[in-house]
Symmetry: C3
Subunit: 315 residues, 3 copies
């Protein structure tokens, strides 16, 4: 694998899921693969799971890790071509990425949607600039529109927990007062669409994800209908794509409750975390044995470790 930015970089999703399960069973089996190789982790935004699970995975593979917060540790970066840089941004991505490529064998980058422009966010200017200018493999630690490390961990978790060959997997919107990115939802849809799961997306009107992520998934505005016989409930808030970045609804009826979980086929509850208890999901659901959120978060190590292994093998 050359990069791990979006699904196009992955030749075989199923094999990558199996690699994740294999890494989980044998965490230190490839300790020599990353020896004397350095991964730089560049954060434009906060992180807990991604920050630490990626460090852990890299360490498991024998790599050296350098972490940097853009903005507090270093300079603000400019991404537009041809501008006269006479404002707050001190360095252009052309130089920053190329320089980081001089120091690091692999670069991981987190850069959330900025919500200034749908077009800018959806052309993935930060991650694609790193791909273009760094000269080394890039790992997406959550970009404006995708979070592949999360999605791969999600599939690993479903594979571990599924009790039917073809589980019914439901991605449900849940309420939130802030405008959150679509990245996790987009990415989950993109990856599940590569499997043969029975996949349903449910959300209020106005919250349809971009068509390139939805593809042929079933979409319903009835959460109740979606939950019927479901094996996995994947809850996530996102802001509107069509009315870009807007909060059109905070409807508390979309919260996940024990009553709603009772409609399912004893489904596991999933969420990428962090999750706001009470607001998006009832404590009783998160604290129930059916909650898979900690296992899911734990699988973040094996997800990124699988991706890094694939990249290291081709370095």
């Amino acid at each position: 694998m050359k990069h791990f930015i979006n699904l196009n970089d992955v030749s075989d999703v199923k094999e990558l899921v199996l690699e994740g399960l294999h890494q989980k069973a044998n965490p230190l089996a490839n300790q020599n693969l990353g020896k004397n190789k350095t991964i730089g982790l560049i954060f434009f935004n906060s992180s807990l799971r991604t920050r630490i699970s990626t460090q852990k995975a890299a360490i498991n593979l024998g790599m050296d890790v350098i972490v940097m917060n853009v903005g507090s540790d270093s300079w603000q970066l400019e991404f537009e071509d041809g501008v006269i840089m006479d404002q707050g941004k001190a360095e252009h991505i052309k130089e920053a990425a190329a320089v980081l490529g001089q120091y690091c064998d692999i670069i991981g980058v987190r850069a959330f949607a900025e919500f200034k422009s749908q077009e800018d966010d959806y052309r993935e200017i930060v991650l694609e600039s790193f791909r273009k200018y760094a000269g080394v493999p890039i790992v997406n630690l959550e970009s404006a529109t995708r979070h592949p490390c999360q999605s791969l961990a999600d599939l690993i978790t479903i594979e571990e927990l599924k009790t039917r060959t073809r589980p019914k997997v439901v991605l449900t919107w849940v309420p939130h007062f802030k405008a959150l990115p679509q990245a996790v939802a987009n990415s989950f849809a993109e990856w599940v669409n590569e499997t043969d799961y029975d996949f349903v997306i449910t959300h209020p009107e106005g919250y349809d994800l971009a068509p390139q992520f939805v593809k042929n998934a079933k979409v319903t505005y009835s959460q109740e209908e979606a939950f019927a016989d479901a094996d996995f409930i994947y809850a996530k808030n996102w802001s509107s794509y069509s009315q870009y970045g807007q909060v059109l609804s905070q409807d508390p009826d979309w919260r996940i409750t024990p009553e709603k979980m009772a409609l399912t086929h004893n489904a596991n509850f999933m969420h990428c975390l962090p999750v706001r208890r009470g607001l998006k999901v009832a404590d009783e659901v998160l604290d129930s044995p059916q909650s898979a959120v900690i296992q899911q978060a734990g699988n973040r190590v094996w997800s990124v470790q699988a991706a890094l292994k694939k990249i290291l093998e081709e370095l």
Copy 2:
């Protein structure tokens, strides 16, 4: 040792002090003990000594280290049960601790007193939540009411420097304009009370520490009386416990001066650092050969290294 949160986690203080001295004499003797083990250091507050000495100790034991500042690197955390998380805090400690426990074999946590409520601070909600939810050993890197890594280093330093079998050890309040936590003073008292030293605490009226820390130590409001024949002067400011978090006095007469040190049995001067020169203690005292503050800070490595060794042995 399962955790290193407070003195109840320690079975034998004297043996742990000896282990610290042993680690100092043989810093790299246990380099294999921590191999392929990861410690996560989680800072809710600033740190210099603790941050770096803990990293150094972990490295000496062969561990991998991951450091995270809560708030700037990651999300603000909620600690209360049953709340609807519709404010600034994006993640609950239940998830955060459990997730960190998935990535780390040991977790160190620094979380100062917030001074919003004596009850909240003294029930040690942050550290005890990590103990409850992380599922891995927790090391206290200074909590609301205690700083055991510091106290153990203090005892190691006294053992190195004492010239009498049963030295007279004086904990003295010194003035400061800010409301500082009681943690270092509490903890020092708690640990010294486990020794057979002659232990005296001196401070202005209104500054009595909580009874569970003072126990049977002698307490006097006369600094002069306390200093007579002392072998160790341990200076520290703290805010009032009874009028919780208040600055009742900034009396400059409580500053440590060469004249006061002359009352002692050629005592060593100790302070946990950082120390505000001139305000709490005269330059002449800090710059004298009797000042042990740098040695004491250096011993922070061996203190936490001893604790980590005990924890690693039972992992």
Copy 3:
């Protein structure tokens, strides 16, 4: 080498440049030299290249690395002697440096000019305090008046690229709207003055560097005259030394353009980065094959690796 703070710490510049080239050719040849040695990197200011290249160099030499941002990670430091510390600064450099010296075998420090006082900046109070109090070797990661890791990388780059035995090297001021330190320009002049290159400095009136850095270099206020037959154009903005810290000119005629580069002997373009495209230099120059800025930044690893090797050999 005992320290790497300024040129006085270096016994033989040419040999150090050769060592840099040697490290570049053999990055892992000295992996055992730094084993079980810890370098602490202390940042009072932002950093990208220095932060990451120094970590990479230390890793290449087998060292353990601890990074700390002063102010956000730890406390604000006091540098003046004899003050009563009753303001915002919680710790004195006397303690902070001595304590860091207890934990680290080598300390790297970045502390920019503060522009409050020319005298304070030019006596290098931060770096010299570390030299005085830390008790271990200090590496200058850019100080108020110097940036030797950069200058050594610059000389390494010139040695790699020069096509004439005695190249003409031009340091040219370029416009900027902010008051930038003189450190990079000072240091470049200081180091080039140790070589036998034909060295010319050009800038508008009022921008003369301090005489101890200029020495016998040719100085001209005519950029055009300076560029004639030049082999290397080293662009950098700095604020006025004589009218200390002031921006006397933002004259866009001093920008580097393809037309100006055409005056040279097919010169390489150099800049320490970050560089503001359009403002200081035209995109066409930065994107031309003659631009050496990425190679120059890459050489930052070998520069500091050479210096660290020299220090480690004498530890």
